[in-house]
Symmetry: C2
Subunit: 227 residues, 2 copies
């Protein structure tokens, strides 16, 4: 009987002074904060491994708020896709606009656009590796159904046309060139923390990477045109 129930309040974490009830004014953007916290957790730990408790805590609310605003785990993911992911996909697509008839310009636009987009949204490569590249990823369906037509298939078609008119290395495969482009942009940026650790260097910034990538794409390993 010594402790009937004094709010045991574990001293760690954050000051849990909030009692139930509608708050006074201040917090009107709980929904937005939840979306941001969810996106960050998805990128850092993967969608499946993201705990609603952790997302809610990061947003400064209780997990029940996720049910209240979205309806559940699956609906939260859906909302993140619609309101956070798809706008960024549109941004990437925008960097290709009006370059459809020049393979070189298209490649430059893709490489540059990808770097620019990731500069603004650093979570993108991590999320992509976990949820698109990995089989069973939560965003794979999204890529295949809603993005494939807008970006990769469009690029491949443009490359095929350039190749037919003799303006692209005929030993390449237009579709695989799209894969190579992703492997030379999204992949190295996703792996940046890894190779910085492997090569023990921070001096290799994304500008250097962009330079290197364009050099490799245009000339390959060769030292020069005229030996």
């Amino acid at each position: 009987m010594s402790t009937p129930k004094p709010p045991v309040r574990p001293p760690g974490e954050r000051t849990r002074t909030r009692r139930p009830g509608r708050p006074s004014g201040d917090g009107r953007d709980q929904r937005e904060r939840l979306l941001d916290a969810a996106l960050a957790h998805y990128a850092d730990h993967g969608v499946a491994a993201s705990r609603l408790r952790a997302i809610a805590t990061a947003a400064g609310v209780t997990p029940a708020m996720i049910s209240y605003y979205f309806g559940g785990k699956a609906a939260l993911l859906e909302a993140v896709i619609e309101e956070r992911l798809l706008p960024v996909v549109g941004e990437i697509r925008g960097h290709l606009e009006g370059r459809d008839n020049d393979a070189g310009a298209l490649v430059e636009g893709f490489v540059g656009g990808m770097h620019a987009t990731i500069e603004r949204h650093p979570w993108l490569p991590r999320l992509w590796v976990r949820e698109v590249l990995s089989e069973g990823g939560a965003l794979r369906e999204l890529l295949v159904n809603r993005i494939a037509e807008q970006i990769p298939r469009r690029l491949a078609a443009a490359f095929a046309q350039a190749q037919q008119s003799g303006r692209l290395n005929p030993d390449l495969d237009p579709r695989l060139l799209v894969v190579s482009l992703v492997g030379l942009t999204l992949f190295p940026l996703a792996a940046a923390p890894l190779w910085q650790q492997v090569f023990d260097s921070d001096d290799l910034d994304t500008t250097a990477l962009q330079h290197h990538t364009l050099a490799l794409l245009t000339r390959g390993l060769e030292t020069d045109h005229a030996p």
Copy 2:
């Protein structure tokens, strides 16, 4: 009292006729089968998401066998690393032997060796994406501590030397070239199911990919040397 305890045996799954007790002869390789099942599950679902129950079921035993043979979840991973993963790393390294002073031969050896190794061990790219590339992956430490010196740093050093003696495109970064090589081999092979779905084609086999990759690496996008 109508059902005192008739072995309720749920009719689905597999015939669970096995009663407790040491089996008669046949199954002497349970440990090996558990290692294989664990590796497969790691590649398919990720290490963290692999349930001991599922691994045990796939190996045809009960989860308690994992405790019996290995001691627990962590020890099982350790055994898979030592007895399944590291031998394959050695195999990859073998493909580079004796080519250290020729950047071109090194690149060819890496691309060809990677394709050959993955042909024999198709789980490799999937596992690598999930557990090395992704932050927080269970095999990242392994790469940094035990593999980095044997493969990536060695390649980078050889490329730097070739570049200094004028036998490699001077606009490239030797270390980033290693990253590019991985992005043009391991990555496309890991993503194969994805781009086969995106481009709606199975005709792009790994031979075509190898051809394309070497073409891109040697000449880049250019149509030819002498225009």
